[in-house]
Symmetry: C2
Subunit: 479 residues, 2 copies
């Protein structure tokens, strides 16, 4: 069935997953482990309820210490060695390790124990911090992002301990408490604790199945430069009648922004695209295989067309490989109802530039500064909010292939392979420093309502996702 | 002294105020009237305190009816016939009339009894609605703008009644309660009550002396078109990673605004400047006479230069005769601290275009719409907030000359003559409909702190301003 399915899709999968297509490749997860996971799924769900009952809203510094302590306790309960790492002013970073009896690879799990704020409260059907299991799913803040994923990984390790005396490779757990506020101390932690963070591959925080139950393997993220431009032309707002003589900060910002992108939304900073690599034919095939519901995306955001009239194929590619320059916020003057005649003293604009692999944020930030200088905006302040390079693991890497093959085993179908997420995360901290491959796989679903009211995790997705993680570990350990 | 002073200024005043320069022109205000004003100035001040003690914040519809009733009572107290005019949903308009025993001209006073909100409260040294007289000045909300001016006009009429049995010409009082919220029903009132509003000249709400005590005669206002542009590209905000594919409302607004003005801030709407007339040589001379502290203006607003590097002379002229296109407000997306990665679903921009005499707002609004249509923005919504043509009285008009000559008599120096204020007001409703001349003269000072905390009115300015108004009435009646 699977092979036939693949052949129907223009025979492409046998090119890029050639090795995995061999029928001889066995399932490596033992029946015993699978049975243990199946039989204990309700207990695992209760552990998710337990962890999600502990508030830990990093944006409000709410319950962070308590949650870190609980996470460490839960690590100890499965037999992990633990360390609570600390940096002044940062949420504690909980580290755990379960060593394999066999020498070999080490896989690291990156997750976070902090959650998004629960608002708007009135839209929750059950209290966000009193998680409830109903109709085969857990409901509560963080049950998917990321406490459900975190517990799933702990319980995979526990399942190995209980059924086989230990996992097929050593496992490291790396749980931070500031992911939802930008992982601002992560680099410092890695700097300070060095080799503790070394492994052969990292399973990133989160993975999903789509509406059809097809799992998705994501292999990277875009980078980002987030800046705020500030133009001040006056020391105080003036009555707008003075606009005949006094300079206008908003008009200057219009001209600045206009100098940054052309009518086709191409970034005009010289050299911006120099390091953008072209996708290989191999990668283009993976991209082509990736389902993409262009109409659905446009419909769900009420967009009449894609940027510059792109086709679905072009838009899909752009989401993976096109650098962006987005105006995330802009404000000046009077923003209330009706009219007020004011010449605003200043204007602010926030922009995020998404970067693709090989683009160097440091270099681009300098080019941005120079472009403004050269365009007559030398005096304009650029506040740098954050800067992260992209990270991407080749779909040809054995770790990626293990995750893909494991998905096929567990879900009985080819996974969606996403070369890179259009979003950003601090993945590069691991992948760049230690040359580690990474995969995003997990137990959630695209409709898990993360960051939203009634966030949820279906128990069947938890069960299958745990098997998927287990099989990935097995396959990578054996590779 | 005065004549010599004028000659020193390149002999220009004898060109444009030739008739007034004749030494034979007498003061017309009687000693009796002047004595009455001098002796009763404290009582007049108490009447200002009385009126300003009645809250009347139109933006919050606070005390409007009560204040209108008090204003009518005060009109009756001086012996005026009164009518309280009403339109559904509008603040009442209080009308009063004091007829002269002599047939001849009628002068109308336009003032308003509503005031600006008093915030920020903490910056007031005494409570805004419990006005206090200290160090020769009244402090309180509205004591200058416009209750002090309003009471001054009432008391000028009272002074004539008490000393001469009546004023030298008939006087009409026309006090509205919505000036601070845009005079939105004024046109309707004038439409409804027609000829009641007819006169030979209107003394507009407000007049000042500058820091040197030199009075200023202002002869008009610019017009305005106030619009809000709204661009919606999505039905909901999207994560900014989607900016690679989904359209951006902010970028579209940048392009729209960029199509409205060039780098020199010239408005690009075809035909925008067609009806802008050139100042006559005569007017240019008046302009040249007008003092203008360019450095002071730049300094007080912290501006390093005027728009487009204009000289002081150019800036002074621009304030009178240059149409503007000002971005009064713009907002989209995330405007808080730090970074949020959002692709905003919409953006709003508020713009006010100031117009000079002869520019027709209706015609220009159509041209603006067409320019956007022709520039690819046919779908962009333009919300029209308000529209008023400019109004200007020739400095050659006998009414203007009367105000100027009266200022010379009372202040012992030539007044500043401002051909037109850079600001806007509903003056055209009178000047256009009835072909009435108007002058802005009064009792306030440039540092009266209108719209600000510790608004004030100096008693000496009240006294001199009342004499100025009286002398203007006398001179115009005799002309």
């Amino acid at each position: 069935m699977k092979a036939a399915g693949r052949l129907k899709r223009a025979g492409l999968s046998n090119v890029y997953f050639l090795s995995l297509a061999a029928p001889s490749r066995p399932r490596l997860v033992s029946d015993k482990l699978e049975k243990y996971i199946n039989e204990n799924i309700d207990a695992f769900a209760n552990d998710i309820v337990r962890l999600a009952s502990q508030r830990s809203v990093s944006a409000r510094k709410e319950g962070i210490e308590e949650c870190a302590a609980l996470v460490e306790r839960m690590l100890r309960e499965i037999g992990a060695e633990t360390k609570v790492l600390r940096i002044d002013g940062a949420a504690p970073l909980v580290f755990g390790e379960v060593k394999s009896k066999k020498p070999g690879k080490t896989i690291m799990f990156y997750n976070h124990y902090d959650v998004q704020p629960e608002e708007p409260l009135e839209l929750w059907k059950s209290p966000p911090f009193k998680p409830e299991i109903r109709d085969g799913a857990i409901y509560g803040r963080g049950v998917s992002d990321d406490k459900g994923e975190l517990v799933a990984r702990l319980k995979v390790a526990q399942s190995y301990m209980e059924t086989q005396g230990g996992p097929p490779c050593s496992l490291k757990f790396f749980f931070e408490g500031e992911e939802e506020t930008g992982s601002v101390h992560l680099a410092e932690y890695i700097e300070k604790y060095g080799d503790l963070f070394k492994a052969d591959g990292v399973i990133w925080e989160y993975g999903t199945v789509d509406a059809n139950g097809t799992p998705k393997v994501t292999l990277g993220v875009k980078g980002i430069i987030y800046v705020e431009f500030v133009i001040r032309s006056l020391s105080q707002d003036a009555h707008s009648s003075f606009a005949a003589a006094l300079p206008s900060a908003p008009w200057r910002m219009v001209r600045l922004l206009n100098a940054l992108k052309d009518a086709n939304e191409r970034i005009l900073v010289p050299g911006w695209y120099d390091d953008v690599s072209t996708l290989s034919e191999d990668e283009l095939r993976v991209l082509q295989e990736m389902p993409f519901d262009g109409d659905g995306l446009k419909k769900s955001y009420g967009a009449s067309a894609f940027v510059g009239g792109m086709t679905d194929e072009q838009a899909k590619k752009a989401l993976v490989q096109r650098p962006t320059g987005n105006i995330a916020g802009i404000w000046a003057g009077y923003t209330g109802p009706g009219s007020k005649t004011v010449l605003p003293k200043e204007i602010h604009a926030k922009m995020d530039f998404r970067l693709v692999p090989e683009q160097d944020p440091d270099d681009l930030f300098k080019k941005l500064r120079k472009h403004l200088d050269d365009s007559g905006f030398a005096d304009v302040e650029i506040q740098l909010e954050s800067m992260e390079p992209a990270a991407r693991t080749s779909h040809r890497h054995p770790f990626a292939q293990a995750a893909v093959a494991a998905a096929e085993e567990v879900y009985g179908r080819e996974p969606i392979v996403q070369l890179g997420s259009p979003g950003t995360g601090p993945l590069y901290l691991f992948t760049r420093r230690y040359g580690m491959p990474s995969v995003d796989i997990g137990v959630s679903a695209e409709d898990s309502g993360i960051h939203a009211p009634n966030e949820n995790l279906r128990l069947e997705n938890l069960r299958k996702g745990m098997l998927w993680i287990s099989e990935t570990i097995e396959k990578f350990s054996a590779s």
